[in-house]
């Protein structure tokens, strides 16, 4: 399944499928991007990050892809598990001016057993 971010805030996938969560970021000057997972009643938890001089980075079962041309970021989760059910946020850091992270609106991932 695939999410288009703001236009589809909930993504529902079957257990074992791959998930793709998309994020359109706002500032072409952003030099750092990060994905967080937030489970109900908890604070956001770091998943993976990527710098603007890269276009792909892999972690354990997760991959982040960065397309600077269209200012698009995606998070791919392989073999999605029920424990992956959460809200996923992307965040960007601008390289000038503002020195903190700017968060997107989030996508809820629901994994069906």
């Amino acid at each position: 399944g695939e999410s288009v971010g703001l236009h589809l805030p909930t993504l529902s996938v079957q257990e074992g499928d791959n998930s793709i969560i998309n994020c359109a970021y706002s500032n072409s000057a952003s030099d750092y991007f990060i994905w967080y997972k937030q489970e109900s009643g908890k604070g956001p938890q770091f998943i993976i990050d990527i710098r603007s001089n890269m276009d792909k980075r892999q972690g354990q079962r997760v991959t982040v892809l960065l397309n600077k041309t269209v200012k698009h970021l995606s998070l791919q989760i392989a073999a999605t598990q029920p424990g992956d059910s959460a809200v996923y946020f992307c965040a960007e850091k601008w390289d000038t001016g503002r020195r903190a992270l700017t968060f997107g609106s989030g996508t809820r991932l629901q994994v069906q057993p």
Binding site: G43, P44, R98, A100, L101, F103, G104, G106
Partner: protein, 112 residues
């Protein structure tokens, strides 16, 4: 798992009361942040600090105030709580040279 703590986890309080939300981290991080988040919505930065005696306002205007007297402690205070302050408040910290922010569990505030 990050060592950042917030108390209380839940708070129900009447209008006009003064409240302080506590945030502490044991990682020695210089940078600390407060975010406000409504359920299922994005995080909005309301305050941040780059070290002791340094505090700045964030993107979202907030009637709250913060202080940073010690590196590990970054409390947020509301002098007179109102129902519009009902939200979740998340504290985070990061190393001086790093961008990755580590979050606490949050405080859910309900003002009646």
């Amino acid at each position: 798992e990050a060592d950042i703590y917030q108390t209380p986890r839940y708070l129900v309080i009447g209008t006009g009361k003064k409240i302080t939300l506590e945030c502490s981290q044991t990682m020695g991080h210089d940078k600390m942040y407060w975010y406000q988040q409504d359920p299922g919505m994005e995080l909005h930065l309301i305050h941040y600090s780059y070290g002791v005696n340094s505090t700045e306002k964030g993107d979202l205007s907030s009637e709250s105030t913060v202080s940073r007297i010690r590196t590990e402690h970054f409390p947020l205070t509301l002098e007179s709580a109102r129902p519009s302050h009902t939200s979740q408040y998340l504290c985070a910290s990061s190393e001086w040279g790093g961008e990755t922010q580590y979050f606490g569990p949050g405080t859910r505030l309900l003002v009646l």
